[in-house]
Amino acid sequence: MTQALDEIKIGGMGASRKRVEDNRFIRGKGNYTDDIHLPGMLHMEILRSPVAHARITRIDASKAWEIPGVHLVLTGEMMATRNLAWMPTLSYDTQAVLATDKVRFQGQEVACVIADDPYIAKDACEAIEIDYEPLPVVVNPMQAGEPDAPIIRDDKENQAGNVIYDWEVGDAEGTDRAFEQADVVSRLQLHYPRSHPSPIECCGSIADFNRSTSKLTVYMTTQAPHIIRAAVALVAELPEHMIRIISPDIGGGFGNKVPVYPGYVCSILASILLERPVKWIEDKTGNLISTGFARDVYLDGELALRRDGKILGMRMRTLADHGAFFSDAQPSKFKIGLMHSTFGCYDVPVAHLAARGLYTNKAPGGVAYRCSFRVTEAMFFQERMMHAAANDLGMDQAEFRRINLVRDDQFPHRTPLGFLLDSGQYGACLELGLKAVGYEDFLRQKEEARKNGRLLGIGISTMSEPLGAGNSREYDILGIKMFDSAEIRVHMTGKALLRTGARGQGQGHETTWAQIVAHELGIPADDVTVEEGDTDTAPFGMGTYASRSTPVAGAAIAMVCRKVRAKARKLAAHLLEVSEEDIEWELGRFYVRSAPDRGVTIQECAMAAYSNMPDGMEPGLENNAYYDPPNLTWPFACYIVTVEVDPETGVWDVLNMVAVDDCGVRINPMIVEGQIMGGLTEAFAMSSMQFITFDSEGNCIGSNYMDYLIPTSWETPGFELHGEVVTPCPHHPIGAKGVGECAAVGGPAAFVNAVMDALAGTGVRNIDMPLLPDRVWEAITERHDVSGAPPVRSDG
């Protein structure tokens, strides 16, 4: 009998294979949009509004046109003549491409210049004269909801105020009854501040319209090339087969590169008008002040509690600031994303959520920054609320969670707000985390330290987030169902080319996808090329965000491999001259059941598919698969942080952080750990420093990397990762649940809870993120909560 292949050796499931894409990235050989130079290419720069809300009374671009090297100046008026001044958003609203009537946020696109080089384009932008007549500015949803608030969207006919939607889910009356029966009602109000995904590579595009072929090729920074193709077909009214979207290497996306931005549209129009390639590369400030932000939600909720710690009911109200246009990237059924996944991992009998969204004079586009559609806010609120409720009950944080976490024998578990959770071992994860951090010991240390005036604290966050949208019944974007796809060609010599409808931006798709092929077909991962991002070659897919690639595209890869294997089995039967029923499969090889020494490898089958197929069989060994997942996947995580707070300065240091992630089967454990570390870093960032705020005039504070702080390796603490608990997803072909976002979603609350724990005894219940030293110090010295968007203080 031959020895079966060693799956780890061929880079299959469970192999910590080095990332193949890094080969080119660390050598500086990546091919990003800005690396592409086409013959005859022109350059576009955008002129943005310096003010947040104003009527445009005059635009005079004549001086810009006069500058040598300028080819085209686009203004809203010119866009309007082509019906392109406005475009549809991903949430059934409209967004200005170039402003015509008013500007509605600082940084809004007002005009574009296309010139021989970007320096000239920039000079010409400065030569455009614009008169702005200032209008009152609305910078938060509370102001926006006031009866006399200025109406921001006066372009919309039936828009009476600034409310975009009122949306609710759950059982309001049942929840009221639960609160009537409660021994204790615990309430918490907080703000999840606005942040920005801020990928290092900003957005950009090169539009190349070729008049002789009528074909439009657009190289662009997009996480979802097929959605863009559809959008361009609809907005620009070009035939879809004449549009080719190529998404080359992407320097980070984090949700920021899902929407359609005015810059893309203008570069496309300019290329069509000038019949030359037009490149637009956004600068950092443009990216930070105008493209898809994240969060900016005010959350207010309560838990109905029994004295013994059991949660009887939950209710929550959210007030979301969507900026000037409702351009959130999210499933169309759910107005505030999957906010109602909150408290999913706890056994809560009844719940209700009411959500309101409003327009303000701020940049539009609540994108899912490393979170599956607003679940970051949902889980943050959940875990901050749990912390506050345990304190209100005078109960240990771990014990309170033990009492309420969904037990292993309760799956499948239906949540009161409508989700179905399939599997998990929540208790085991919590206990593992507590043991790893030395929970009881730390509580004793904390008491000791307090006697010497030192403030130590510990914070727990346990959560399960929904990933992998969709299933097509419930999840769509603009009506396009959220499935995904894969296509494989096995060449004659047994090497393969795999394409999917996803689009990686650093997640390591080129590495892990090949590992799924290795697992399913026994073809060594090194023999598989993975390609994504070109709509002329890749099968249709919804792209990569919301941790959906492994749950959806990854499943499609397994399914297409199984189709190919089924055909290879027929070829094997032919080669071995036995009937198909007598054939068995082991990794990489078919053999005769009764004579296991007689077998053929998958490579031999591949050769036969092109050289020796049975009569009547279609030649070749390739196929495709579209995968519509039956449900979301629900990984679970337990994050525990310990901190020390300096009471004199408010500075806090992380002493230890333990992360237990049960994300189902791990395809490449090293990549999984990398994803978790990245997520924890972002969680630390949110809790400590990373936010965007606005002054009362709507000026964006956080428009460059001196003000928008992203932690460096210097301040980021070390993390201790645990992956011992593995609960395979019962409905996913390879049992994976997705992991890209868990740590960024569940992590922030662990940091904040730890600092709040250190402040226990001061009477402070909440400090809103980020926990900048001055806010912590203010809470300690003034003994009050520090809430709301971090103020841009005027002189004090």
Partner: protein
């Protein structure tokens, strides 16, 4: 980010650089480490017509101590040189403490101490350090050289006392007369961030007695602030819990912070006091251990 059009000249000697500056008039600027000037140009906050690059001028990248004990820092001595300087570590505790707190390693590899003084950013760290140490700046112009005390060098935010055709060639830290002690503490939100508040303390002692005290504050006013009352409260006295607390209180009073996204004015004042007390407390602790 695309700056406006500018001309660029790489000077080979100080005299050539001065000529270029004189011919360029108000629209010419010296380019040293470029870590303040280049970002300003890219943001189009500054649009000089001519850059006079001094990086190729030989003999400006030094820092050394003269026989009399004074320390001299040339115009092309980088922050990183000072960070790794054995000389500062053994002889100049305030400078040694400040160097690693400037910006991040990348900026430190290019940026210069002299350039930082010329830039006169109220949040620049070196200005407080040099002010606390009673240093001065040597300017080289068409008519030769002159020495300008640090206290007179900065005229206001982003404004220095150089004529448009003068180049700052070195900074001088005078020789201490007593035993030097001191430190620099900076509160920053993140590595590479400018100071929310920073405190430079440089004292000299004779036995237990403080013979000279320099205290200067970063980021808590329109310019670097010299906390003269706090200095006076220490001079001629020993370091004790009382004198230290008093110096902290007076330094906080001297600060003129504004509330902004880095913190409230109250908080910044409080940090000044805390840091003065911490630095002096550490010195006092060392003295006690030595005694």
């Amino acid at each position: 980010m695309y700056p406006s059009r500018f001309r660029y000249e790489a000077a080979r000697s100080l005299d050539q650089a001065v000529r270029l500056l004189r011919d360029g008039g108000d629209e010419a600027k010296v380019l040293a480490g470029g870590q303040s000037l280049i970002p300003m140009m890219k943001l189009r906050f500054a649009s000089p017509e001519l850059l006079v690059d001094i990086n190729n001028i030989p003999g400006l990248d030094y820092h050394h101590a003269d026989p009399d004990g004074s320390i001299h820092v040339g115009a092309l001595c980088r922050h990183a040189d000072l960070e790794h300087s054995g000389l500062l570590q053994s002889r100049q505790p305030t400078m040694a403490a400040a160097a690693p707190l400037i910006a991040d390693p990348l900026v430190r590899n290019r940026g210069t101490l002299v350039g930082s003084l010329c830039h006169a950013d109220p949040q620049g760290d070196w200005a407080s350090v040099v002010l606390a140490l009673g240093g001065s700046i040597v300017a080289h112009g068409p008519d030769g050289r002159r020495t300008i005390p640090a206290a007179d060098f900065v005229l206001g935010p982003f404004e220095n006392a150089l004529a448009h055709d003068e180049i700052a060639v070195e900074a001088i830290i005078p020789a201490p007369r007593g035993a030097p002690a001191g430190g620099y503490l900076k509160l920053e939100r993140r590595v590479g961030d400018f100071a929310t508040a920073g405190v430079a303390v440089a004292i000299e002692t004779d036995g237990a007695m403080v013979t000279r005290a320099g205290i200067a504050l970063t980021g808590v006013g329109g310019s670097t602030i010299k906390a003269t009352a706090a200095e006076a409260a220490l001079t001629g006295r020993p370091l004790t819990a009382e004198t230290i607390a008093e110096a902290g209180r007076l330094a906080a009073e001297a600060a003129q912070p504004k509330s902004d996204h880095r913190g409230s004015a109250t908080y910044k004042r409080h940090i000044v006091r805390t840091f003065v007390v911490r630095i002096l407390g550490r010195i006092e602790g060392t003295q006690e251990r030595a005694a």
